[in-house]
């Protein structure tokens, strides 16, 4: 090679900085694909949380060990299941919550809460919800899942 050292070093300088920028661009592509996938996935699952469906929502009162904040709202579907298993509408990961713990249904223009045979029971306003039988719930009622002091507490809202 008959290149002068100066010229070659000049080329190398440009290449060096260009490599960092190429790396940043590569990163941006990866991250962008990541964000698109995340937003489309969660958008389908939540189906627009800000718009009220008219059915109502659960307000988190006491989150326990869950990564939820007090005041967080969860929309209620016509059939909402709560439990530890991944097929539930509301998934709560704690060993004191049964895999299928409770179910909230909406018919006759009324909410109904029933316990799904959970180990640590479900309580509505302090009264235990019997397994397999729906108990009517109104806005403002407190839904407690788990032993006496409750693992997670929700409040019904419209």
């Amino acid at each position: 090679m008959n290149l002068q050292l100066d010229q070659f070093l000049f080329i190398l300088r440009i290449v060096l900085v260009a490599l960092i920028y190429l790396f940043l661009i590569q990163l941006i592509f990866v991250v962008r694909r990541d964000l698109v996938r995340m937003s489309s996935g969660s958008g389908a699952a939540r189906g627009g949380t800000t718009a009220h469906k008219g059915l109502g929502y659960l307000v988190v009162v006491k989150p326990g060990p869950m990564p939820l904040r007090p005041g967080h709202r969860i929309d209620i579907e016509p059939v909402t299941t709560i439990g530890r298993g991944p097929t539930n509408t509301v998934v709560l990961e704690d060993s004191r919550i049964s895999s299928e713990h409770a179910r909230i249904t909406y018919h006759d223009r009324q909410w109904w809460v029933e316990d799904m045979g959970s180990r640590n029971k479900t309580f509505l306003n302090g009264t235990q919800v019997p397994a397999g039988q729906g108990v009517p719930a109104r806005p403002g009622d407190l839904l407690v899942l788990g032993p006496v002091d409750g693992v997670v507490t929700f409040k019904f809202g419209v």
Binding site: Q4, L9, V15, L16, L27, V31
Partner: protein, 454 residues
Amino acid sequence: MMFQGIHRYRWRELQLLLLPCLFMLTGMVMLVLVDSHSDKVSLPTLDSLVPAIGVIAALLVTHILLTVLLPQADQVLFPIVGLLSIFGVLMALRLGPALNPPADNLGSKQLLWLLLGLLCCLLTVLFTRRGTLWISRYKYTFAAFGILLVGISLVRVFTTHINFDSPTHDELNLPGPGGGIPFQPSELLKICLVIFFAAYVAENREILGEGGPKLGFIPVPPLKQFGPLLLMLGMALVLFVGLRELGLALLIFGIFLAMLYLGSGRFLYVGWGVVLFAVGALICYKLFTYVQARVTVVGINCNATDAATRQIILGPAYQICQGLIAIGSGGVFGTGLGLGTPTNVPAVQTDYVFAAVAEEFGLLGVMALIGLYIMLVHRGFRIAANAKTAFHQLLAGGLTAIFAIQTMIIIAGNLKLFPLTGIPLPFITYGGSSLIANYIIIGLLLRISATDTA
């Protein structure tokens, strides 16, 4: 832990590691050519490229081990950190021989620390095989361990009266070859404190999130829950002040506020925190002369010609003004790696690496570097957002906050926007304890990103 088939291989990570390895090779070639002082270009010999090959091999081996140990972990984090570490090794290789007195093996020492750091990262991943929740149960143990380490070095300073005037007392000489291995225990204390705060805030989230007593119209945080938090924070701050590492005190305070806000969602705490910080900063300013010196230096005009200012410029402000001159001589495109004179700045390989990078890579290089740090912080917070339990969210958030706040403080110090502190620029500053602690953080972040993913 069996190899689960080719579709579980961390392709993305391998793809992303390609450019950093190229960067290392190019940088190494450039350094060798600049060193050769000849007029013609000759191909560099293989043994002069050994550091480059060593770094690339280490990164690839770590990548393969990560595939075996933790295939579902975040794949973008390690390449970013790899590129930053490569920057560090290149700068150490470049600055070492040019220092006064020359430290020819600075580069190989940095490379050794890098290898140790990668090892610690993998060890962290191994130790958390059963998940990271057990860490939250030992929060007091971790905090005590960190404080003990730092306390030892503090006691040593006061009992043996070693160098009371040294810029920092945060040193521990581990027994080892060549007169002991210098180690900064405060780096590990940072991690221990974050673990403690994360575990404590995660457990007491509800109480911290609800109301507290009111002082007239001003709400006050619930003091009973705050007790252990404030105690731990207070101990850490006293230690740092005793160690003359006020930058670290600032860092820990900032992380504490960040995690408190992450955990409770209330601006109230941030407000009280800022007030407390202002009070503390004022006290430190009045108490310590070296704090006053560093603060006045920030306000100095390096172009001034009057006698009084010039005396300060040639005295305490020498380092900062030389740093600014270095950054300025870099311009937009930089002088080129190895072609500038960053060694005019005192302590350039530790406190002022950023200025050295700015001089040799220019504005373009520095903006790319800041971009890399932004991507690192983004990735860390994303891992925190995707975490499944409160403790993991807070731990990942706190660890990322370490990187974010630390980088901001040291870059602002280099640019004379903020008093200079002894905080290292993550992964690039020459120094072993910083590198090891940062890689332990990366190991924890990788483990958290792989927990409970489908």
